[in-house]
């Protein structure tokens, strides 16, 4: 008989004892349920309420088009290609539009990066369009205003800064739109002291910094999981939340096809059970303090073939056998660790086959050091005008509260978030499904963001706002079209006139072209640093991670995503602290008990959840792992 597998601790207990079966023979407990009178009351009330509801008659109306466009039939959906605005990964989407309203998002199967996939966040992002709590018009000091007033206010502040050489800062999440990048540059050109800072709540800054050291360009390469035969992921949940999970999951599925010719081998090194960890052929559980040591050991073993640790030797052996067909990825926030990872990949000859620097990714461009220096400037009161667009630093950037210290804070936001509530001026932003725009998730693959409905409120896209503030107001469609005619059309070299090329790009949902080859420098860093080691301490390590459906909390307003159970913990809603079974036993904590987490001078009371996978039997004997791993979920506004 095959070994019976279990999926939760409760199931494991029921497998070992007959009395804990799913359906018990003993009658259900009735205590606490309604008594007879209460039941009758409830029935009576329900019946009465339903009768009352039946009495009112709302008159539904039909408002047909006055002039119906040819080919449009009420009740028949039309599909448009667009780009998902759920995160920076910019997956291609097909938007189902019925009677003029977008009703469903699906992946665009033709899109070369996402290839038909769309994650839960993307699927649910359509709810954001119809969110009644969106900012419907510009707000000046919290009071509703028109765009003329808002423009006049920000123009006067910008003119002042232009005259006096005041500091103007633009803070955004990673900008994956080529047209937006151009307009940000044009907008900031007019100032003597202006800077654009990009940051990501789920930062990959260390990877970019490491490539600046080893390859001479601050880029995020494109990882090709579809071309790898051996995958080693070090604390990177690439199937769940890391950089571009849909693209990576699609590629991973290709290289691990049981019916196909090859089945990639996958090792996951991580301190907590992640979605990628559940799929791994070998899972190595390490505390967050041991990741740097592991990478150093692995780098040595890849060079020499030997390591003091058997597990490292085995993984390095697999990697050495698959030179040029392997892939090592790492989610560490430490640049020196990432430099080591780059050296491992370079030694294995992975740059080129499985790690593409010629088609660099624009999905994460954030720079943590730039953000830190901006926060310093803000704290010192040196910023005259701060414009925040598409980001919520007061919520998800360390020290982001400092945005309130800017002399004038303008926020381009869809809803009243932590940053917007501190703003002098809120520019109401359009939802992706209402906007013209473009996106280039990886160099050489560009898509047009196509609106599927007119803006429901008095909102603008960031492009329109930037053009307006630069003194050249124009519609987003014209801005994008112009940019494509000038930049992308010549690069794509189609045998088509531009109008036809534009139509085809809209219809296909993407355009591919060959970007210029990047100079490849030797993988020798300018300065070799020791990877930063987290000091060992008595007690627990706290691992903060992004939940699969909520990421860093940007979509916390979205009830669909709050209701999605986490694929590992199976918990929907709310914030919680995962504890390994041994750690919980030691502390005498059960699932549901409240624990107080103290870390970095901050405390948080959270319900505990006993989660296997953080500490496993094979790790208990490891001498370094005396301290158990404590995973705390940072979910958001719960």
């Amino acid at each position: 008989m095959a070994e019976k597998l279990w999926r939760s601790l409760e199931e494991l207990r029921s497998l070992s004892g007959p009395d804990a079966a799913e359906f018990t023979e003993t009658p259900l407990e009735t205590a606490g349920g309604p008594d007879r009178r209460g039941f009758l009351k409830a029935v009576g009330f329900t019946f009465g309420a339903s009768m009352l509801a039946g009495c009112s008659r709302t008159v539904p109306r039909i408002e047909p088009n006055l002039v119906q466009p040819e080919g449009f039939i009420p009740g028949r959906p039309v599909y448009y290609t667009s780009v998902c605005g759920g995160c920076g990964a910019a997956c291609g989407t097909l938007v189902k539009v019925r009677d003029g309203r977008p009703i469903k998002l699906e992946g665009n199967p033709e899109h070369p990066a996402s290839r038909g996939g769309l994650c839960a966040v993307g699927q649910a992002s359509i709810l954001g369009l119809y969110d009644s709590q969106r900012v419907a018009q510009p707000l000046i000091e919290g009071k509703a205003a028109g765009w003329e007033q808002a423009d006049a206010l920000i123009r006067s502040r910008l003119d002042e800064a232009r005259k006096n050489g005041g500091a103007v800062r633009l803070l955004t999440a990673s900008v994956n739109s080529p047209t937006e990048s151009v307009w940000i540059r044009r907008f900031l050109e007019g100032f003597r002291n202006a800077r654009h800072v990009e940051y990501d709540a789920l930062s990959s800054s260390a990877i970019l910094d490491a490539h600046e050291q080893t390859h001479g360009a601050r880029i995020l390469p494109r990882y090709r999981f579809d071309k790898a035969d051996v995958i080693v992921s070090i604390d990177a949940d690439f199937l769940g939340t890391w950089i571009s999970p849909v693209e990576f999951a699609r590629g991973y599925a290709d290289s691990r096809n049981p019916q196909g010719s090859r089945y990639a081998w996958h090792a996951q090194v991580e301190p907590r059970m992640s979605l990628s960890g559940t799929k791994a052929d070998q899972r190595v559980v390490l505390g967050p303090g041991e990741i740097a040591d592991f990478v150093t050991d692995l780098a040595g073993a890849v060079r020499t073939g030997n390591s003091s640790r058997a597990v490292v030797t085995a993984i390095a052996g697999r990697l050495r056998e698959a030179r040029g067909r392997s892939l090592v990825v790492c989610g560490s926030q430490d640049t020196a660790t990432q430099v080591l990872v780059n050296q491992i990949n370079e030694a294995l000859g992975n740059y080129g086959p499985t790690i593409e620097t010629d088609h660099a990714s624009r999905q994460r461009r954030g720079d943590d050091r730039a953000l830190e220096s901006l926060i310093e400037e803000l704290r010192g009161g040196h910023v005259d005008v701060l414009i925040v667009a598409g980001a919520n630093p007061a919520f998800d950037a360390p020290g982001g509260d400092a945005v309130a210290k800017a002399k004038f804070l303008a926020v381009h936001a869809e809803r009243m978030d932590e940053t917007a509530s501190k703003a002098n001026l809120i520019c109401a932003a359009s939802h992706t499904l209402e906007s013209w725009g473009d996106a280039e998730p990886v160099e050489g693959t560009a898509s047009i963001v196509q609106p599927c409905i007119r803006p429901l409120f008095q909102t603008r896209t960031l492009l329109e706002a930037l053009a307006g503030w630069s003194g050249k107001p124009a519609a987003a469609l014209d801005l994008v079209r112009d940019q494509w005619q000038k930049e992308i059309y010549p690069k794509a070299k189609p045998n088509l006139p531009f109008d036809r090329f534009w139509e085809k790009a809209l219809q296909d949902g993407f355009v591919q072209y060959e970007p210029g080859a990047r100079m490849r420098a030797a993988a020798k860093p300018r300065e070799q640093k020791e990877p930063a080691r987290i000091p060992r301490s008595e007690g627990f390590d706290v691992v903060l991670y992004a939940k699969t459906a909520l990421f860093a909390g940007r979509h916390a307003y979205n009830p669909w995503l709050q209701e999605v159970p986490d694929p590992i913990s199976k918990v929907a809603w709310d914030n919680y602290a995962c504890l390994g079974p041994q750690a919980a036993a030691k502390l005498g904590v059960k699932t549901g008990d409240y624990v107080r987490v103290e870390c970095g001078g901050q405390t948080l009371d959270l319900p505990a959840l006993i989660q296997v996978g953080s500490t496993r039997r094979n790790c208990r004997d490891r001498p370094g792992l005396r301290q158990q791993t404590l995973d705390a979920l940072r979910q958001g506004r719960a």
Binding site: V59, P64, N65, L66, I73, G75, R76
Partner: protein, 217 residues
């Protein structure tokens, strides 16, 4: 004694209420049943005139019924196919023509009060040309046939198989104002589906399913 009087008074009251209500009992509907509903419409459009006297086929205006789940209310530009020329009743237009011939002048355009609403909705001027000074406003018709949102109904399947519009909607070509003819209840749907499967539609064998998921999913 007092109790007896009270009982008699109550009994008589009960009896009178019954007699009064008995006349209305036949008209009582269950909640949600809107049989006989015939709301006034923003434009007094007559199906008797168009579908009855003029014999315009149903699908000329309600063309989406063949290709979509909704039959739909036609867009105003479809009305203009005819009403660019026909601006009032035939009688009124003839009368104006005769009068013009008598007075030896060109006939003036006569516009009926109901058609004026259509032209206003489309923001047209007196010569039926677009008037930039006016604002076009869609016409908000009152929906007559409404199904609850938990029911999926598709016109396509019924039209394709050859079910006459009148079978569900009644003699619309005789209605000045559209009235809900059937009760549109589930029992009514299921009965018709059973009958259609047993007897066929228009002499053709059909399979009208009666599984739950046909309409509820």
């Amino acid at each position: 004694m007092n109790t007896r009087i009270a009982t008699i008074v109550l009994a008589i009251g009960l009896g009178v209420s019954f007699v009064l209500l008995a006349a209305r009992i036949g008209k009582l509907h269950l909640p949600g049943n809107q049989q006989g509903y015939a709301p006034a419409q923003p434009i007094a459009y007559s199906h008797l005139l168009h579908a009855g006297d003029m014999q315009i086929p149903c699908l000329y205006c309600h063309y989406p019924a063949q290709s979509s789940r909704h039959a739909g209310v036609p867009p105003a530009n479809l009305c203009m196919n005819c009403h660019r020329e026909v601006t009032a009743s035939l009688g009124a237009m003839h009368a104006e023509d005769e009068l013009a011939a008598k007075e030896n002048r060109k006939p003036r355009r006569v516009v009926s009060s109901e058609l004026k609403k259509l032209y206003d909705a489309l923001a047209l001027d007196a010569n039926l040309q677009p008037d930039p000074g006016k604002e076009a406003r869609p016409i908000a018709w009152n929906r007559v046939h409404t199904l609850p949102s938990f029911v999926y109904f598709d016109h396509r399947a019924h039209i394709t198989v050859g079910v006459a519009c009148q079978q569900c909607h009644g003699p619309v070509e005789t209605m000045v104002r559209v009235r809900q003819f059937s009760d549109l209840s589930m029992g009514w749907c299921v009965n018709c589906h059973r009958q259609a499967t047993a007897q066929g539609v228009g002499g053709r064998q059909v399979n009208a399913p009666v599984t739950c998921s046909t309409c509820h999913f």
